[in-house]
C-alpha cells in the first residue's frame, strides 16, 4: 500500500492500478460500442452501393448548415470535457465544475439542434412510414436512407442523453469535492465515453450529410 486514498478499493495495489484497470475496462466497453455502431455503418455502406441515387436524394434533404453547426458544438463539448478532466487532475474544483457545466450545455445544445432537425423532417413528411412523401422515382429507396438516418442519429442521440446524465452525476460529485489529483478516475472514464460519442458523430456527419450527397 503505497498511498492511502480512501476511494481505492481493497483489491488494488494503489490508485494508479485502479485507474489503469478502470480505463482499460472502459475501453473494453467502447470496443463493444464500436461493433454496435460499426454494424449500422456496414449496413449503410451496403445499401448506398445498391441505391446510390436515392441515398444522394435523401442526403440532399438533410440540413447541412445545422449538421455542420452540430459538429462544431460537439467538438467544442469534447474540448470542454478534456479541460474538465484536466482541471480535476490539477485539483481545480471550480474549473472542473465550470467545464462540466459547459460540456452539459453544449451536449444539450446538440440535442436541441437535433430535435429541430427531426421536427423539420416530420413537417416535410420525410419520416419513414405511412406519412412518408417524396416526389420522384427514388421515393421508395429514399425511405431506406431516412430509416438509416433516424436509426443512426437516434441511437447516437440516446448515447448523448446518457452522457449528459453521467456528466450531471460527475458535477454533483465534483461539487462535493470527491475528485482530487490523486483520484479522478470517474472523470477520466466518463470523459472517454463522451469523446467516443463525439468520434461516432465525426463519422456519422460525413457519412449521412456529405458522402451520400454526391453518390
Amino acid at each position: 500500500m503505497s498511498d492511502h486514498i480512501p476511494q481505492v478499493a481493497h483489491q488494488f495495489e494503489d490508485a494508479t492500478q485502479q485507474y489503469e484497470t478502470a480505463t482499460l475496462g472502459m475501453w473494453a466497453f467502447l470496443i463493444t460500442e464500436i461493433m454496435f455502431f460499426g454494424g449500422l455503418f456496414a449496413g449503410f455502406f451496403v445499401y448506398i452501393l445498391a441505391h446510390a441515387q436515392a441515398f444522394a436524394e435523401g442526403s440532399r434533404h438533410l440540413d447541412l448548415t445545422l449538421g455542420t453547426i452540430n459538429t462544431v458544438v460537439l467538438l467544442g463539448s469534447s474540448l470542454t470535457m478534456a479541460l474538465a478532466v484536466r482541471s480535476a487532475q490539477e485539483g481545480n474544483r471550480n474549473g472542473q465544475m465550470l467545464f462540466l457545466v459547459l460540456t452539459i450545455l453544449l451536449g444539450l445544445a446538440f440535442l436541441g439542434i437535433k430535435g429541430v432537425e427531426y421536427a423539420h423532417k416530420f413537417e416535410q413528411h420525410l419520416v419513414p412510414g405511412p406519412q412518408f412523401r417524396l416526389e420522384g422515382p427514388h421515393a421508395q429507396s429514399a425511405q431506406l436512407f431516412f430509416s438509416f438516418y433516424f436509426a443512426m442519429t437516434g441511437v447516437h442521440a440516446l448515447h448523448m442523453v446518457i452522457g449528459v446524465g453521467l456528466l450531471a452525476w460527475l458535477l454533483v460529485n465534483a461539487w462535493r469535492g470527491r475528485y482530487t489529483p490523486a483520484y479522478f478516475t470517474p472523470v477520466e472514464v466518463c470523459g472517454l465515453y463522451w469523446h467516443f460519442v463525439d468520434v461516432v458523430w465525426i463519422f456519422l456527419f460525413p457519412t449521412l450529410y456529405l458522402v451520400a450527397r454526391h453518390a
Binding site: A42, Q89, H195, P206, Y209, L210, H214
Partner: protein, 107 residues
C-alpha cells in the same frame, strides 16, 4: 501516476485543428472530385478527413497517446475488428458484377 497533464495549448490546438478539418470536409463536399458514378474520390476524401479527426480525438482527448501498451492493444483490437466487418462486407458487395455470372448447370 496516470497520464501527464496535457498542456492547455495542445488541447486548444487540437480543437482548432478539428474545426479546420470540419470546414475542409464540408467545403470539398460542394465539388465533384470525380471517381465515377459513386464519386469515389469525394467519399475517400471525406472518410480520410474523418479518420484524421477521430485519431486526434482518440490520441489526445482520450489520452491514448499517454496510455499503457495494454490500452493500445485494446483500442487497436476494436479498430481491427471494425475493419474486418467493413472490409470483408464491402469486398463482397463492391466486387459483385466484376466477373460474369456463372451459368446455371444444364442437365
Amino acid at each position: 501516476m496516470t497520464h501527464p497533464t496535457v498542456p492547455l495549448r495542445l488541447y486548444v490546438g487540437i480543437f482548432v485543428g478539428l474545426i479546420l478539418l470540419t470546414g475542409l470536409t464540408v467545403g470539398i463536399a460542394f465539388f465533384d472530385l470525380g471517381g465515377g458514378r459513386l464519386h469515389a474520390v469525394n467519399a475517400i476524401a471525406a472518410i480520410t478527413i474523418a479518420i484524421t479527426k477521430a485519431l486526434l480525438v482518440v490520441l489526445y482527448f482520450m489520452h491514448i497517446r499517454y496510455s499503457n501498451r495494454l490500452t493500445w492493444v485494446f483500442a487497436g483490437a476494436g479498430v481491427f475488428w471494425l475493419l474486418i466487418l467493413i472490409v470483408l462486407t464491402l469486398a463482397d458487395y463492391l466486387s459483385r458484377g466484376w466477373l460474369p455470372l456463372p451459368r446455371p448447370w444444364s442437365s
